[in-house]
Amino acid sequence: MSLLAVHDLAVARGGLRTVEGISFSLAAGQALILRGPNGIGKTTLLRTVAGLQPPVTGRIEMAEDAVAYAAHADGLKGALTLTENLHFWAQVFGGGDVAGALAAMDLAALADRPAAALSAGQKRRLGLARLVVSRRPLWVLDEPTVSLDAASVSRFADMVRGHLGQGGAALIATHIDLGLDARVLDLTPFRARAAPAARPAGFNEAFA
């Protein structure tokens, strides 16, 4: 069964359409990699799918509360320890196994350190471990491998494979090859045409 179906979607950033006419669907166990040059609208598309902003046109079909979103910012509190950070998100999302998530990202040894003491790559790993405790079926990931070393990238790819194996799905914007058995959607052909001059993406956008 399909976890996510997108029909003829157009998204806008700052009142200007970025990409339009996008359609795809994701079934359980599938992953879709988004590619495209900087500024094409990958992040905007992912934020729209995650429900953080409304689409300009088109439809997004998915179950309610299905998305676990991970963006450039990891949503970590430096004053809390790794365990406390994950435990909080586990409680909010009604989910899971904090120790297991830390182990999956090889952070178990650091569990009682404050998150402020982590390196950039370790913070990113903690941010990705949050996906596991959220127990959401659809992972929406925006450049998840930024600041990860090669070993962590392969560990992350294993984590995504495990998630897909358990009937999850993932929508990933990335520039590198994760070695996943996934379809690739290049956004370049979907770049929005020059918009009509007067009202680029709806009058109300001016107030948004």
Binding site: R47, A50, G51, L52, Q53, P54, D65, V67, A68, Y69, A71, H72, A73, D74, G75, L76, K77, A79, L80, E84, F88, W89, Q91, V92, F93, G94, R130, A208
Partner: protein, 218 residues
Amino acid sequence: MIALLKRDLRLAIRAGGGFGLGVAFFLILCALVPFGVGPDTSALQPIAAGILWLGALLACLLSLDRIFALDHEDGSLDLLATSPLPLEGAVAVKALAHWITTGLPLIVAAPLFGILLHLPTAAIPSLLTSLLLGTPALSMLGAFGAAVTVGLRRGGLLLSLLVLPLYIPTLIFGTEMIRRGQEGGATATPLLFLAGITAGVLALVPFAAAAALRVNLR
């Protein structure tokens, strides 16, 4: 929601969280006023109620921009918005956390600071009641202001300009209640108004603040 409350309280208490800043500011303000207007009871007593409430307002204002700005910076706000927690509930919980870390210490400290300003002991009960009823509205209105200015750089000043006018009704009835308590009059009318304003604010503002957050997260 309990998890969010616990996390916010924990963050406030840990290093750099700003717990106690509001009370310290309140203390300094109340200690400075006698230097400014002179230590005479005849000069201080009539303005004590007003100074105490103004001090509470400004102390409350100090920590308002932290309510959402920090969560916005580190991306937690995006994650909260995609979580099963309704955003209205998150707003209410964060306002509650702000009240516990700012309003509650102010209330506990206020009788002591009242002495600095020569507030008669007869007025202490009405001082406590008025703060107890009024400060939750301050935190909730502040949460609304913080939600409106969340994405803005240096939004703190704009936040003050937005929020302070909204504090006027609470200020009027709060000071009126203490003044009447001071004179031994009936405090029921300002008490009911104060409670009414707070009840209305608590019921309605979470929805407005959540709507503002949704717009700002786009």
